[in-house]
């Protein structure tokens, strides 16, 4: 049987091998075709990233190592690390006060916005018509920065609303935006006010996700509101707090629109921040090399700060 079958098997073997090879080839072709189709579907997104992310990033890197006045692409003159050493050199205003202001601005904004939004979100969580309150607090987000900046600028001016209140209380006027000691804190307050709406949205969603049974158990144990907030609400709100903290800090480090409207970086360099300085170096002074180098320094700072925040929250038991 075996012998009789053996020749048949032997005869069939080359055919089935061919068939197997053919099947493998077919599958390979199909897989290749699928890969091509997949890449074709991905192509628009890849092209988008290449044109709007990779190319500008590469160009910025090239410029940060060159001198370029912005007019003729043929005039890009390589200078090595000169732009970076110039920025970080002794006597340069980039580290102090520009970068210091940037960090203070971001830190102040995050601290104020976080404190304010936690407070407001907790209050809203206990009120009726929560949607209405959330909408009201969200309004500054949908208002243009130019309008927000100008309105606050008038409110801060001597004779403005804020000074009017101070005068009514018998206090002297304060030149909020003209005094280098008060200009940066004054702008920080406005930035925090303008960004508190989005933080409230995230935090109210976070508050909703805390199971009510914890609060019931706490009430049965006789815990007061302060203890409940400190021991239950805040720890369980940590994922939302991490998100708000990281995003607000990133926004704060990169923002300059409000500053350009309210103070133009002045008086002197009192409110000058890195993004504003980059904009001026590139578009006003035609020094694209310095502007690009400053952008990479700011990128390094943003990365370091974000990693530090993630590390801190992970260490305290929260994963991003």
């Amino acid at each position: 049987m075996v012998n009789t079958l053996a020749p048949e098997t032997t005869r069939r073997a080359p055919h089935s091998r061919r068939a197997a090879v053919g099947a493998v080839d077919g599958r390979g072709r199909a897989r290749r075709r699928q890969t091509v189709v997949a890449y074709l579907f991905l192509a628009p997104a890849l092209l988008f990233f290449a044109v709007f992310l990779i190319l500008p990033l590469g160009f910025a890197l090239l410029l940060s190592l060159s001198r370029w006045t912005g007019f003729d692409l043929g005039d890009i003159d390589p200078v090595g690390l000169d732009n970076f050493t110039g920025l970080l050199a002794d006597g340069s205003t980039f580290l102090t006060p520009v970068l210091t202001n940037t960090l203070l601005f971001a830190l102040g904004t995050v601290a104020l916005a976080l404190a304010g939004s936690v407070l407001v979100a907790t209050c809203i969580d206990k009120l009726r018509f929560q949607g209405l309150w959330r909408t009201l607090y969200f309004l500054p987000i949908v208002t243009t920065v130019v309008a927000v900046g100008n309105v606050w600028k008038y409110m801060y001016e001597p004779g403005g609303l804020v000074n009017g209140v101070l005068n009514a209380l018998g206090l002297g006027s304060v030149a909020f935006l003209q005094d280098p000691d008060t200009a940066l804190p004054a702008v920080v307050v406005v930035q925090a006010w303008a960004s508190v709406g989005s933080a409230i949205l995230v935090l109210t969603a976070g508050l909703k996700s805390i199971p009510g049974s914890y609060y019931e158990a706490a009430a049965l144990d006789g815990a007061g509101p302060g203890t409940v907030f400190r021991r239950i609400t805040l720890p369980l709100l940590r994922p939302s707090l991490l998100f708000v903290c990281v995003t607000q800090f990133l926004t704060g480090l990169q923002s300059f629109a409000l500053i350009i409207v309210m103070t133009k970086g002045g008086p002197g360099d009192a409110t000058n921040v890195a993004a504003l300085e980059m904009y001026r170096q590139a578009f006003s002074h035609g020094d694209w090399g310095t502007a690009s180098a400053a952008a990479f320094v700011l990128f390094a700072v943003v990365l370091a700060v974000t990693l530090a925040q993630l590390w801190f929250f992970r260490r305290t038991g929260e994963d991003a």
Partner: protein, 455 residues
């Protein structure tokens, strides 16, 4: 069996030579890129069709745009071979637009830059020097300050258009109420008048500022200080344009004066003088001539209280001097039709026409008529006399007279950066962050460092 093709008719069995799929893949993006970076529209390119020159300016608003369009339409109606098309952006976007369009190969044939940028534009190879005959015409027809503003390193790069000189605006009513007979002529009188007119309420809010010090932007903050510096015989930049000359006796005197005015309460830099002066809250301001037009429309009948006098000199008997800034029309090095562009500029800036309402035979260039129609001046004194003699605003006279002694704003490479650095230091002085000595020292160090980089 011949495969059935879904579309198209018969195809050749072999690919056409020289256009493989790979070539096509390379050629398509290259062609798109080339078409994107091509020179601006300059006519159809067909023989016999007119050349179209593009002119990029900051005359974007209704009044300015219409004022420039008038002569351009006149040119287009009377010239068949060369046509001009204007494009305009807001002044704040002008330099950026020059950069972006130039880098993309889309630079306009004719540019209308602020003269402060000339050094930067020349260094970047954007501006073409004026041909000898045009340069000669410009030197002959315009005041020295206007020619200086349109030149870099002694070489003329364009026809000066609007020219702004600085003078002292004062509120006649406020000065009269404070017992001042007329505008101050010296710094001592200026200081006295500023103190006499300044008033505050019990909370320290400024009711009236004696001398308004603007912190509005680089131009206004630096302009008023440089006008006073020039009036004291000082200069911001050395003659060779490579270092700053602000750390001098004149520089110290200006910073001392401004510091005293601020610390003693006669000036409040935080107040926006461009809003406060028309409201009668500022007695005096050093500013440029363009402001007369704005004040007239803002103040209405109240404009009769506004007077203009030369910038006070340091001591009685000193020679007058002030700052002069301006714009010019120049030709792009990338223009394919420079000769035609210069011809158009000559026609616009030197071709004279009769002045409506003026004395018989009085003529002025199209550009001068255009500028006066929008409340500005040009550097052509003869034109200005003819045009202002036809019932113009007497407050413009001091600005016109100042053309004879004004000092052009430095326009060396890095001038914009130097100006920003000076503004920051002036503000640091006014707000007490720096003493006069520190301000002089820091300005010199920062500006010298920047200028050394720019050359």
């Amino acid at each position: 069996m011949t495969p059935v093709r879904r579309t198209g008719g018969p195809r050749p069995a072999t690919r056409p030579p020289g256009l493989s799929r790979r070539h096509f893949a390379l050629a398509l993006p290259s062609a798109l890129l080339a078409s994107g970076c091509a020179a601006p529209h300059q006519g159809t390119g067909r023989p016999g069709d007119p050349i179209v020159l593009t002119l990029l300016s900051h005359y974007a608003s209704g009044e300015l745009k219409a004022a420039l369009q008038g002569p351009v339409d006149e040119w287009n109606a009377t010239h068949d071979r060369v046509k001009v098309r204007t494009t305009a952006v807001e002044f704040t976007d002008l330099l950026t637009t020059f950069m972006v369009r130039q880098a993309a190969g889309q630079g306009a044939d004719i540019l209308h830059p602020y003269c402060l940028w000339n050094g930067q534009l020349v260094r970047a190879g954007v501006l073409r020097p004026a041909p000898a005959e045009h340069a000669e015409e410009i030197r002959r027809g315009y005041r020295e300050a206007a020619v200086g503003a349109a030149s870099v390193g002694g070489r003329v790069y364009g026809y000066p258009t609007e020219v702004q000189t600085y003078a002292l605006y004062y509120n006649k009513r406020l000065l009269r109420e404070a017992g001042a007979d007329g505008p101050p002529g010296t710094w001592r009188e200026l200081e006295e008048t500023a103190h006499r007119t300044a008033r505050r309420d019990r909370y320290g809010n400024t009711l009236v500022q004696g001398l308004g010090l603007s912190t509005y932007d680089d131009s206004t903050t630096v302009g008023q200080t440089l006008a006073l510096l020039n009036a004291a015989g000082g200069r911001f930049v050395s003659a060779d344009g490579r270092t700053t000359a602000v750390d001098s006796a004149a520089g110290r005197a200006v910073f001392d004066l401004e510091h005293r005015l601020v610390t003693e309460g006669a000036s409040t830099p935080g107040v926006n003088v461009y809003q406060a002066f028309p409201s009668g809250q500022v007695a005096m301001v050093v500013s440029a001539g363009w402001w007369t037009g704005s004040l007239k429309s803002l103040m209405g009948a109240g404009y009769r209280d506004v007077g203009v006098a030369p910038v006070p000199v340091r001591k009685a008997g000193d020679r007058h001097a002030t700052l002069c800034t301006g714009f010019m029309l120049g030709v792009n090095t990338a223009s394919r039709f420079p000769r035609e562009a210069w011809e158009f500029l000559r026609w616009l800036n030197t071709g004279k026409a009769g002045v409506k309402g003026a004395a018989r035979g009085a003529t002025a260039t199209r550009m001068s008529a255009l500028q006066v129609s929008v409340g500005s001046l040009t550097g052509r004194a003869d034109d200005m006399r003819a045009l202002l003699g036809t019932g113009g605003d007497p407050n413009q006279r001091p600005f016109l007279d100042a053309l004879a002694y004004a000092v052009p704003e430095p326009n060396v490479p890095g001038a914009q950066q130097a100006k920003s650095l000076l503004r920051k230091n002036i503000e640091a002085l006014w707000t007490g962050q720096q003493s006069v000595d520190e301000t002089l020292r820091t300005t010199r160090r920062q500006v010298d460092q920047e200028m050394a980089r720019s050359w």
